[in-house]
């Protein structure tokens, strides 16, 4: 579904609000995986506000589309999206990370409404997404499964076991998106454990690779459309993103894989986000 200029503006507005939300939740939580939460945010915004067939007032709707956020540490980016999409009150995120809260840094599907699969341990998401997609096919259901992978987690062998099977089973009801932000905890992916030629690896496993700017809604939408068309067989969207996107002092800085921000840093972060969206 091609996006109109007005739709893109609405999505940008949503993303601007959510980047502020993520800053607030990071402050409330006392620390969070803010870098990776921000890098995948635009992907989540596009899915939750444009693509997904979901109904937040009927979160268990049988024929809803499913999302597996395999990079489960991105909870600080994911939870605010669910809140703004109407699954729960945004203010409840003030308890994030606190004793007894439903919200920990890796979201638990049993506790957080709207989460389809509990993730956190890396390399588990794509196998589950393959199971969901096969499950839909076995039950002759039209709903789609979306899986967001971190690039670092593609070091895990289970990701490639799953990739092999997605390709073997010819899954075109599965949209696989890699948040290619280039960093993992210990440094740049290419320094810690090189992934490149990353796209070639996916091609060798039988995927059609769609390289896009992961912060460009129109480009992402085009790639999702291609994936869903089934014309190219199983697809992976290699979404090139920036870790910490929107906060100038975090962008591309490995230090912000996980971090805490005080009120001064939070103000700087808000100002940076406003500048990026032309709201300063």
């Amino acid at each position: 579904m091609a996006l109109t200029d007005a739709e893109i503006r609405e999505l940008e507005e949503q993303a601007w609000q959510l980047r502020h939300d993520i800053i607030n939740v990071t402050v409330w939580a006392g620390g969070a995986h803010i870098g990776g939460g921000l890098s995948m945010l635009d992907i989540l915004v596009l899915l939750y506000f444009k693509y997904l067939n979901i109904d937040s007032s009927h979160p268990e709707m049988a024929d809803r589309d499913r999302v597996v956020v395999s990079k489960g540490h991105g909870g600080v980016g994911f939870a605010p999206v669910l809140a703004r999409r109407g699954y729960f009150d945004f203010e409840s995120l003030k308890t994030f990370n606190q004793f007894g809260s439903p919200f920990g840094m890796h979201l638990d599907a049993a506790k957080v409404t709207g989460v389809d699969a509990s993730t956190g341990s890396l390399g588990h998401g794509l196998p589950m997404a393959v199971g969901l997609a096969l499950g839909a096919r076995a039950q002759k259901k039209a709903w789609k499964t979306y899986c967001i992978l971190g690039d670092g987690e593609c070091n895990e062998g289970a990701v490639w076991e799953a990739a092999m099977s997605a390709s073997h089973f010819g899954l075109t009801n599965l949209v696989t998106i890699v948040d290619r932000n280039g960093y993992m905890i210990d440094g740049a992916t290419e320094e810690v454990m090189a992934l490149e030629p990353f796209s070639d690896k996916w091609r060798a496993f039988g995927f059609h690779v769609l390289e896009v700017d992961g912060h460009d809604f129109a480009a992402l939408a085009g790639a999702i459309d291609t994936s869903l068309s089934g014309d190219k067989g199983p697809c992976v969207i290699m979404a090139h993103t920036k870790k910490g996107r929107g906060i100038d002092y975090m962008e591309g800085n490995v230090k912000w894989h996980y971090g805490s921000i005080d009120s001064t840093l939070a103000e700087k972060a808000r100002a940076s986000v406003d500048r990026m969206y032309g709201k300063a």
């Binding site: 638990d108 588990h124 196998p127 969901l132 289970a158 799953a162």
Partner: protein, 338 residues
């Protein structure tokens, strides 16, 4: 296999079929009744016999190749999609190669996945320790939400598989490989998940067993009655978790001597589970755990290994005589002991 003419498991001629073969046939029956049931394996369709289901329901059967982590991840996704997956692979790989997927994907999310783990314990003893599973019960019972069942024979396997379909949440059913002799001759003996089955009544000592040791203990009890005049209670504690604590406590109260027999390391399996109940009861009890020692098992045919590790009839008789010979306070007054 004899011609299927009735609705009971005995028509499968469980005497001449492995537990896994019985399981494969029962699952085919369940597949007829329930279209939400799917089967998965990792290149062990033939070895585990889940391939029987695959032949009958090819559109509901998925072989993911030699990739056990993906196997359990995919099964989790299928359960999340509303299906009831039965997953079969060897116990060593289900419990160790895919340990975290079973724990985090299946148990953490409390999914309706049923794991049928074959080649449990040392039943594939000729293959050596890479293919033995002497730790799987300890691993599986440590996971919240997991139910752990070790059927005594093919008929009990059939009962367990049938019962687990409507049992909420993850279930681990551990069966052997070989042609273990059958203890039960009919499925009508009151199998219930979480409830011990009394194989023989007795008041002198209780033998708590699961899996292959049930038959061996039952035979030992007969011999001990004839030769030593002992009244030996034998409990088939097929469900390791949730454990039938009441049956254990009754054994403490009524026989005050207990030995557990299991085809598993003595660390963390049936014996440990029973020991926890005895210790918490605050009551004195002569107790011994018999199983595999804290060492990788020898290579050999299962029957030779069972004999070596005192898990066969002779070994059980020997252990019972040893424990009966222990000096033990016989009075029924618990007050001085609690």
């Amino acid at each position: 296999m004899s011609e299927v003419t009735g609705t009971t498991w005995t028509v499968y001629d469980a005497n001449s079929m492995t537990q896994a073969e019985v399981y494969g046939h029962v699952l085919c029956d369940i597949g007829e009744e329930r279209d939400d049931v799917v089967g998965l394996t990792a290149d062990l369709a033939k070895s585990t016999k889940i391939g029987l289901f695959g032949e009958k329901f090819p559109e509901r059967f998925f072989n993911v190749g030699i990739a056990e982590q993906n196997l359990f991840g995919v099964a989790s996704g299928m359960a999340l999609s509303g299906l009831t997956p039965f997953v079969s692979t060897m116990a060593a790989f289900a419990s160790m190669r895919a340990c975290e997927q079973v724990r985090t994907d299946i148990c953490y999310q409390n999914l309706n996945c049923k794991i049928i783990a074959t080649h449990g314990g040392i039943s594939f003893g000729t293959a050596g320790s890479t293919h033995n599973a002497q730790e799987d019960v300890a691993i599986m019972r440590s996971f919240p939400n997991m139910t752990v069942i070790i059927p005594a024979d093919g008929i009990e396997t059939a009962n367990a598989v049938r019962a687990c379909v409507d049992w909420d949440g993850p279930v681990y059913i551990r069966v052997g490989r070989g042609f273990e002799p059958t203890w039960y001759d009919s499925e009508e003996y009151g199998f219930q998940i979480g409830k011990a089955v009394t194989v023989s009544e007795g008041t002198d000592i209780t033998l708590i067993c699961c899996g292959v040791t049930v038959l061996q203990a039952a035979e030992a009890a007969k011999a001990l009655k004839a030769e030593d005049g002992l009244s030996v209670r034998v409990l088939n504690l097929h469900t390791i978790k949730p454990l039938d604590e009441e049956a254990v406590l009754r054994a403490v109260q009524e026989t005050r001597r207990i030995i557990t027999f299991e085809e598993h390391t003595v660390h963390g399996g049936l014996g440990s589970a029973v020991a926890d109940v005895i210790a918490a009861s605050g009551k004195g009890c002569a107790f011994e755990k018999v199983g595999l020692p804290d060492a990788f098992s020898l290579v050999g045919y299962p029957e030779d290994l069972y004999a070596h590790y005192k898990l066969d009839t002779n070994g059980i008789i020997e252990k019972v005589r040893e424990v009966m010979g222990r000096d033990f306070e016989e009075d029924e007054d618990w007050e001085d002991e609690v």
